[in-house]
Subunit: 148 residues, 6 copies
């Protein structure tokens, strides 16, 4: 990522849309249709080097993220961004910063999310350093928590 | 943490409730009252070695987590748990697994959350490994994302 | 890494090949000869600010990676890439994505490696989140494992 | 979590073998048969709270790890252990330390693996700290790398 | 970070100095004055989307870092750099590599710091992998440690 | 690590002091003498499975940590603890929490160190999430930094 080079520097060859055939071609169509975009993201084009893995990944993403279950999709997008920030994956942070804005978070809401991440990464590390022991009784979060 | 020892093995001395005086005593009262519990969690008792830091931390936790703003408290508890899992802080994971249950997540909802974390930590690392380049156009998350 | 600047933005001054003298010069020759390349990589040029540390590092790398022992060099290169991906070190990921290709991994093999990394970073975090307890009896890996 | 508590402290309820029915029961049989063990590991019993996710996970593990493809299963077990160590997942480290021993690694081989992990986590962080720039030409690993 | 774009690609809108009013304007003045620089760093301009959070963060940074207490400011800057390197935050690594140079660390001292980080990230991961048990008696660091 | 088992659960067999011979026996003597303790820590006993690696590690630890160079030993112990906390290595955190106390840090100083770690892990993650761009001009740390 540290330079000006393009797609050809990726670790594996991307399968371009006009090269896609068979299963890959069908998956590309499904990806574009489902995501409502007119291109196949680099992530999926890289995975197409193994069409079975592309398919397994795409089905799994849909199963986990594609519909509201007990958690709403917006909540899951917020978690996806949080995880990506914790992993330090720039590609994914970029995609999901956009995704949660698209889901309705404005700058104020985004900053609120970053505040929570700032707060807990700090407190987590503090407790790891202090080797804090589990409390004998349960409680419900540092700030009092929410009610159902 | 790998043994049978108790509180006395923590890195810093915990300030017990009956030792607390002045600012610390008042903060302890506020913590118990606000959190609705009858004890001061170990985390706060460890921080009490520096009452100013205890106060700053407690005020900050309340400012970030203590009320709904653009994000609801339940969403923020879910993010706090996600961050704690990503940091690998056992103390905090224990507290927040309890906290989100208290906020209404049953086992099915908890599993759904873990699925999202499983999915994205994997995809994050995949993209870090493949050195995936940013796409030229924005999109809205691997699974299609949510709408406002 | 966030800009267009060159070598002069590195945190410490790199010792150029024509500046190298004494122990550093000899190490530079050994590095180029052993690695079969006609330049000294930036990593080693940065370490040359402390020739003793350069030497200790180079000797150690050779001791660990320079020959087959119980593990073959190809396996160790694959582990080195895996570690680099887990650490999120772009410089090292770039070097080792190239190194394992040079060792014979084609795109299909590379993707298979990324799949394993994707799978286990996910499962690891899932088990950290679920606070899964150790099983009472040993087993041999989620997929059944290999036999000697 | 550093104490004497049992299964009931896990974040989600484990589905015991005698409670399993329908899809879960079949998957439990398949897991035990395929893994050649007489119990269902805690990880899979926790996932059984969502039988569809258990199935998706089990199928995926088999697809990635269950047979030799370009990489042998032993190599993939070594990578699985490496990833688990980098993630700091105690449960998974325990399982995979056993798994690679079962696959034929003796203490000498295990130590050689830990040496590679020690070496590269160190060098990764060193290069992250020094903000080392990508070299203009490719090379093949710090120690010279392997040949196909 | 993955491209050539400027400030407008940041996740949230930066509040420019000529846009700042009220509390934000005063904080900007205080930041520039205290830090002895003629611009407001991007980090603070991003936080200004929530002036209360900007204020809380700035007050906290000053409380922790702004004066010598038991630890000197130079030591704390070294710790801040170490933490930033461990977190892999390029922005912060850049700022703190500069900060510790400004505090008097030359290249030799910086390399010495990187050596300690290299050594311990490696040993940490080695012990995590080996699942090393706590010793029955205390000792004082791998190299013998320092005396008061 | 989460159970009651002893040394025999470690991943590799520890070489007990009365089993040590040749190079290992000499290194054990040197370790105890240099560290001023009457036992060989588990970490070194585990590494003794490969006496050459034990030696290389012990020499390296001494080279990096064993004497004041540009950084004092106390500062380096503080960095070693910081790194261990960031890596989440419980064994090393335990050893180095003791080590820095032995080096003169009391609870107040330890808490000050944890505060710095709390602050920067939070700010690091905040900047990673906000994808903050490098500033055009250098500055010297969020709190103003120290002077030489």
């Amino acid at each position: 990522m540290s330079d000006d080079s393009g797609v050809d520097k990726a670790a594996v060859k991307l399968v371009e849309e006009d090269e896609a055939a068979g299963k890959t071609e069908k998956l590309y169509e499904d990806i574009k249709h489902t995501l409502g975009i007119d291109f196949v993201p680099n992530m999926y084009r890289a995975l197409a080097g193994n069409p079975d893995y592309l398919e397994m990944t795409w089905r799994r993403v849909q199963a986990v993220m594609g519909k509201d279950r007990k958690l709403g999709r917006k909540t899951k997008d917020i978690v996806a961004l949080t995880v990506s920030i914790m992993s330090g994956c720039e590609y994914c942070i970029g995609v999901y910063n956009d995704a949660v804005k698209h889901a309705g978070l404005d700058d104020e809401a985004l900053l609120e999310l970053y505040e929570v991440i700032d707060l807990y990464t700090g407190l987590n590390r503090l407790n790891i350093g202090m080797q804090t022991r589990a409390d004998e009784k349960p409680w419900h979060g540092c700030g009092g928590g929410s009610r159902p």
